[in-house]
């Protein structure tokens, strides 16, 4: 998925508000995503659930650095943010609270289903 990263940030910008982020009064995370020696920047600002996305190269209370190939996988739900970081494939700096909230932005694994009412998959 070549455009997963772009789609992810555009999707965030379109979403505008996410009630799961209301735990954060105010904070921002900058993503430095690099490919072929070039780095793209996104600054995601969160204010009581409101989300604003800009392409800024500075600022941010927390910073995520990753290669585009790695971030594509996170942005599409194929890779899990925390373990990717713990394996050393992406780097983070800044407030742990922000990261705990931030992880909610990333999509879930595409294969996991929702509620399982009435014993669906009973075995």
């Amino acid at each position: 998925m070549a455009d997963a990263t772009q789609e992810f940030f555009h999707g965030l910008a379109r979403r505008g508000h996410d009630r799961r982020l209301r735990a954060i009064d105010e904070g921002s995370v900058r993503f430095d995503i690099s490919r072929d020696g070039r780095t793209e920047h996104w600054l995601v600002a969160i204010d009581r659930g409101d989300i604003r996305v800009t392409e800024e190269a500075t600022g941010g209370d927390a910073v995520v650095e990753a290669d585009r190939a790695v971030f594509d996988r996170i942005a599409s739900g194929e890779a899990y943010f925390l373990t990717t970081v713990l394996r050393g494939e992406a780097a983070v700096a800044g407030s742990p609270r922000l990261f705990a909230t931030l992880r909610k932005l990333f999509p879930p694994p595409p294969t996991s289903e929702g509620t399982r009412r009435r014993g669906r998959g009973r075995g």
Binding site: P96, R97, P109, S112, R116
Partner: protein
């Protein structure tokens, strides 16, 4: 921890060695230095002139410090050494060993001191299951004055750096030190084994749970902590010892997960559970509320921040669900196990709400209740939607992760923990009874918070209506009428899983049992089939799978009993609660006041002493907490409005108990209890008294 092993711990860093202070390699025992779920030292063996040392004495000064007094030479020969050796182990970010040797002879002596070192970087899960299968590359590097032992897998790297404060000759297998001692002279060095995690900036805080700094700071903090806790006075000396032991062990098990900033939560237990567990930290925080309410505050905040927000089958994450277990070892990081975090427990979510309300009742901290309103409502939604797998209105579980998820997602989470009376295992989804009790209690308590703090009476009414309806159905569907008790569970077809178990005691604690049925449950709990004389067995004698040394099918768990005692008091059975308290506290005497995770279910009349469960963890947070909760239940402490109500009922042979300076929304209050023995009758001691204070 097995006999012959010595442990020190500091939060989630811990070391288990033998009685000489050595770590002798062993694939399947937890010997070693561990931090963030990884073994950083798998070998640490000291020799002098090629000989290992014999232990004369061990002094466990603090939970984070051990002193070994030794002489060179093997234990099976006549020892008349002119050298004495002292090893002092302390923990902070790694291990420090202060090694000193004294020459008692009038002649000088030259010695070769050697430390053999290795690090296998095993994940604690690999050690537990004895299945080391490293996929990465081990390496070692000798540098000026130090040895670096490392492990690398893709971009994941762990290193242990071994060095000393005096000149050393490092080689691939350890350090050698040449020592010259003058007549009656002494020599000392400090050996250090420290982790080095060459990680990107910011990540240290994600991977290494915080710890208090120097030993002296830790000593001071422990002193402060003990001084802050209520003071216990009693004529039964072992209870004072057990109380002090519990406070110290809870202090030792505290660590700061990275989300908690400088505050801490309890790790679950040494050696296998040195990490954050939702269920264990909630139960421990509940037990410790009258003594150390800060544990509850941090636990609630950390679990709220890490609450599930999406559906992830592998981790069994669901929106609103509270986590089960968090790990940072290699297997978790590479997603061979799902613990980053794993959400496979069905009780942590309702128990989170129970703790939230109980915390507010004690502390009056409405600020915290306001700050997690959204998470609390999400937890209620999880109970109503994701947890109700059969559409019957009951919480039930069937694992999403069919590869390595837990089959039983309740506290009795071993594979055979839930069975019919005849021993068969039920199909899924399983709705165990105590989960329904927790859900009932969670709704009743959340309703109170909704009314009093969130000012949402409509939501409160809804929750109370649902709770009342749940209670009505539960008393109909789970009641085993011919046996007069509550079934352990409903199986996938809604049929009763009819084993008689300790779970019925938790139902009393939650208040879901009709008054008319309580007497029958109490009769069962105190019957010889369940009550051994020491405590209530997890599974009744006579059940198909009953085994007095079966982990969840016959052993006695102090934590379980402390909640059963609380439940007995809730329904007015104060004398029965006191009998359970007496049995468990008597058992504690045999463990020097440190209750293990579990002990065998043999009858007290048969063995006279509690029989060890072979692989029990100790110290274990909720076992340390059991002593605290039993004190609360004996004294009948209950926060009511702005007051603390005290209604003591002590065991027959306990003359008096006083708990002074109990913190809470009332400031500080004292509680006094006198037992029948103290009220004029002749007291007798149910367990051996000690000649002097410990």
């Amino acid at each position: 921890m097995a006999d012959g092993q010595v442990g020190i711990l500091d939060g989630t860093t811990f070391m288990v060695c033998d009685r000489a202070g050595d770590i002798v390699p062993s694939p399947d025992t937890p010997l070693g230095l561990f931090a963030h779920d990884t073994r950083l030292l798998s070998k640490w063996v000291l020799t002098i002139d090629g000989e290992r040392l014999s232990t004369l004495a061990i002094d466990d000064i603090h939970y984070f410090e051990n002193r070994f007094y030794l002489v060179p030479g093997r234990q099976d020969v006549y020892v008349n050494s002119t050298l004495s050796v002292r090893r002092v182990h302390t923990l902070d970010s790694g291990l420090h060993e202060d090694l000193s040797i004294v020459n008692h002879d009038g002649r000088p002596v030259d010695l070769t001191v050697r430390v053999e070192v290795d690090a296998d970087f095993a994940d604690v899960f690999e050690v537990k299951d004895a299945t080391a299968r490293k996929k990465g590359r081990h390496y070692r590097r000798v540098e000026a004055g130090r040895l670096v032992i490392g492990y690398e897998r893709e971009r994941y790297r762990r290193e242990t750096i071994v060095s000393a404060t005096t000149p050393v000759e490092p080689d691939d297998d350890g350090l050698t030190l040449a020592v010259h001692l003058e007549p009656y002279g002494s020599w000392r060095t400090r050996l250090t084994a420290e982790p080095d995690l060459p990680m990107p900036r910011g990540l240290e805080r994600l991977t290494i749970p915080g710890r208090a700094g120097r030993p002296r700071d830790k000593e001071r903090r422990l002193r402060d902590r003990l001084a802050e806790a209520p003071r216990l006075e009693t004529g039964f000396e072992p209870l004072r010892g057990a109380y002090r032991r519990s406070l110290i062990d809870l202090a030792a098990l505290r660590f700061s997960p990275f989300l908690a900033e400088d505050r801490s939560v309890p790790a679950a237990g040494l050696p296998w559970f040195m990490s954050l567990f939702g269920r264990d930290s909630i139960f421990t925080s509940l037990q410790a509320l009258p003594f150390a309410p800060d544990l509850a505050a941090t636990t609630l905040q950390v679990l709220a921040l890490r609450q599930g927000s999406r559906v992830d089958d592998f981790r069994e994450e669901e929106p609103g669900r509270i986590l089960h277990e968090m790990r940072y070892g290699e297997m978790s990081v590479f997603e061979e196990t799902p613990h980053t975090p794993y959400f496979g427990s069905s009780d942590a979510t309702p128990l989170f709400l129970v703790l939230l309300d109980e915390y507010e009742r004690w502390t009056g901290d409405v600020g915290l209740v306001r700050s997690v309103e959204q998470e609390a409502r999400a937890a209620i939604d999880w109970i109503d939607h994701y947890a109700d797998l059969t559409g019957s209105g009951y919480i039930s579980y069937q694992r999403r992760n069919t590869r390595n998820g837990l089959e039983n997602q309740c506290w009795k989470d071993s594979w055979d923990g839930i069975s019919y009376q005849d021993g068969r295992l039920p199909g899924f989804p399983r709705a165990t009874c105590e989960l329904q009790g927790y859900a009932y209690d969670a709704k009743m308590r959340t309703a109170r918070l909704a009314r009093a703090v969130w000012h949402d009476p409509a939501y409160a009414n809804r929750l109370e209506r649902e709770a009342a309806e749940l209670k009505r159905r539960f008393n109909r569907d789970f009641w085993v009428s011919d046996g007069e008790y509550m079934a352990l569970a409903l199986d996938g077809d809604g049929r009763q899983v009819d084993a008689l178990s300790s779970n019925i005691g938790h139902l009393l604690w939650s208040g879901i049992v009709d008054e008319s049925k309580a007497a029958a449950l109490v009769r069962h709990l105190m019957s010889p089939a369940l009550f051994s004389g020491w405590g209530v067995r997890t599974l009744a004698e006579g059940a198909g799978r009953y085994n007095p040394i079966g982990y969840h099918v016959g052993t006695i768990w102090p934590f379980d009993n402390s909640f059963i005692a609380w439940g007995l008091r809730r329904y007015g059975y104060a004398d029965e609660a006191a009998r359970i308290a007496a049995g468990i506290l008597d058992a504690a005497v045999f463990y020097d006041g440190r209750l293990p995770e579990a002990f065998a279910g043999y009858s007290r009349a048969e063995t006279k002493y509690p029989v060890n469960y072979p692989t029990a963890c100790s110290p274990q947070a909720w076992s340390a907490g059991a002593t605290l909760l039993l004190l609360r239940t004996m004294l009948g402490l209950n926060p009511v409005g702005e007051d603390l109500v005290v209604r003591p009922t002590l065991p027959a042979s306990l003359d008096f108990v006083a708990l002074l300076d109990i913190p809470g929304r009332w400031g500080h209050l004292d509680a006094y209890g006198r037992g029948p023995a103290g009220a004029g009758g002749r007291g007798h001691q149910p367990a051996p008294q000690q000649l002097s204070a410990p």
